[in-house]
Amino acid sequence: MMEKIKSTLVALCEEMTVSGYEYRAENKIRELCGSAFDEIRVSPLGSFVLVKKSKNKNAKRLLIDAHLDNVGMMVTDIKKGGFLSVVNIGGLDTRVLPATEVTVYGKQEIYGLVTSTPPHLRKAGADSVPKMDELYIDTGYSLEELEKIVTIGDPVGYRLKLTEMENGYVTTSGLDDKACVCAIIEAIKDVDRDELKYDIYVTVSAQEETGKNGSARSAFEIEPDIAIITDVNFASGDGTPEHECIKCRGGAAVDISSLTDRALTRNIIKLLKDKGIKHQIICEPGKTYTNNEGLLISGKGVRTAVLSVPLKNMHTPCETVNLEDIKSLKEIIKAIVTDGEL
């Protein structure tokens, strides 16, 4: 089962899905879903809605959300000597950028490197972190050639492959939130229609990183009775204090928050305890900083719960998750859609 999860994750991470460009992954999403869903449609904002209905005519509508987009950059100018100026799309930590490899998605995909100036050639006393407007993308083309390939507004993403580390850990960018997309697709594929207690609407949503726009709009159309939002959450091990986060290899977490439905959350925890499914709890008294905040106020209001996969080094090119925790989320979703008394 781990191999299946890994291959789906690799396939998802190969796709460039900087916020606003999720549509590029449509073929990959259709391919990964195969014939497991009744319908796959694309919302006006670029979210994918995957529908699988229960045999039960009176089944409630359960929306399960994970976002597909990730942070990236956009070209703002083309300079002499083959350099591009860029701005960030979503929250980017510029400390990680110098000498980082990227792909520029122009008329063709071209290789690029974020510039860095050697220490002895920098301005004296320049020990501050370079700002976005001091960094450029080095493409190795002349201005004339580059203008034929790249247009202002073209997106730029990290050029990375998923790297396997020890003990089931994998690292690349975009695991926020493709780890959860992977778990949901694999879970629903695994469940027979006969076993479904709910009509399932999976939203693989767009534009979470730039304002959580995608999923809430989809909810207006779907009018779900219940929504379960899955996203990554800070894990310890990268320096984040243990009391503020969850643990890798501890299973997916159920969030307890003032902005999630208390009864729904309690029912999920009870279900997991009854079935002996590994999980952990994270308490977020205020916001969950996920699509939850958009979904719960959509339409006439939705009962929501949030599930989290622990992730280290969020929003960097070395986001790290453990495959065990993705598997755990998959198991939890399977339990909810087949046996959940929500």
Binding site: T115, T117, P118, D138, Y141
Partner: protein, 344 residues
């Protein structure tokens, strides 16, 4: 040369651990020059090839085999690895970069995540003492199954040709020098290039940590002249004034009159510049006094020798993305070819 440069650059060889690189060079020479010379290694870890020519002046051509890297200094309770740098590395290029160990285990360099930094910390460049290597171990026991204190890591970086004639990899500093020397050896073996000097090729080790095998090489060879092939840190990026760029990629071989370690032999350097002019070989002059390399060690070994430096301009040197331009490598090769034919 491109194929060889790729193979050499991808080889694992931080300072003091150059055997992988040495093996590639050794088998390349043995394959391409079966009978003409004598390949030897010495206790300093270097690799040498001598092409005897009785009575001719002795010219040593030198490049270093080692690259910058990391060494595990401590394993934390939580499985993260503390490390020190082998050679000089700018901390700003380290955060979030992939690394690979001697034994082939992969990981990344992590720093305190941005969401827990104070405003003050957020604006400051990260320090190496606050970074760690994560290989996916959650305890010291798990880490010790796959690594140990003292194990080497290098950047995990592939070889990419991009734009118009640029190439990116780790360790191009100074595998490009090794590759140029190998090509020269091969072309001498086939008779395509001839030399009026007794040539001594020295592939040295530990240049990045200062105490290089170049000392021992010079003591052993006692050359009359030395040419060092290197890569040079330049600031050839947008936003830097032309003067501060130092040199430009693609504008030809760099000749230097001085750096922080060496005053290069003026006559020898002028002679190389004249040969470049005469033979239409692109060259540029290094426009700042900075850095240093094996040249100093060669100059002050044995009874001293007259040294010149030919280097390729490099962006983002000592990072996972060392970048040079192929035209500059060709120019260095042509310049050396012109030097060794004394009739020129």
């Amino acid at each position: 040369m491109k194929e060889l440069l790729r193979e050499l650059s991808l080889a694992f060889g931080p300072s003091g651990c150059e055997d992988g690189v040495k093996d590639i060079i050794k088998s390349y020479i043995e394959k391409n020059m079966p009978a003409c010379g004598e390949v030897s290694c010495d206790t300093s870890g270097g690799l040498f090839l001598t092409l005897k020519k009785e009575g001719a002046p002795r010219l040593m051509i030198c490049a270093h085999m080692d690259e910058v890297g990391f060494m595990v200094t401590h394993i934390e309770e939580n499985g993260l690895l503390r490390f020190g740098c082998v050679g000089g590395i700018d901390p700003i290029v380290l955060t979030s970069k992939r690394v690979v160990s001697e034994s082939g285990h992969r990981g990344s360099i992590i720093a305190k995540p941005v969401h827990i930094l104070s405003k003050d910390e957020r604006d400051k460049r990260p320090k190496i003492e606050n970074m760690m290597i994560d290989i996916g171990a959650d305890s010291r026991e798990e880490a010790e199954k796959v690594t140990f204190v003292g194990e080497y890591f290098t950047f995990d970086s592939d070889y990419v040709e991009y734009g118009e004639g640029y190439v990116k990899c780790k360790a191009l500093d100074d595998r490009l020098g090794c590759a140029i020397m190998c090509k020269l050896i091969k072309d001498i073996a086939t008779g395509e290039v001839s030399s009026d000097y007794e040539l001594h090729f020295a592939f040295t080790c530990r240049e990045e940590v200062g105490y290089s095998g170049a000392f021992a090489a010079t003591e052993r060879i006692k050359p009359d002249y030395g040419i060092v092939i290197e890569s040079k840190a330049v600031a050839d990026v947008h936003g830097v004034s032309d003067q501060k760029k130092v040199c430009v990629l693609g504008d030809g071989a760099i000749v230097s009159f001085a750096d922080l370690g060496t005053i290069y032999d003026r006559d020898f350097t002028r002679h190389i510049m004249d040969l470049c002019e005469k033979n239409n070989i692109k060259y540029q002059v290094h426009r700042i006094i900075s850095g240093g390399n094996d040249s100093r060690n060669i100059q002050i070994s044995a009874s001293g020798c007259r040294v010149a430096l030919l280097s390729a301009a490099s962006r983002y040197i000592h990072s996972p993305a060392d970048v040079v331009h192929y035209d500059d490598l060709d120019a260095i090769y042509e310049a050396i070819k012109a030097v060794i034919r004394r009739g020129n």
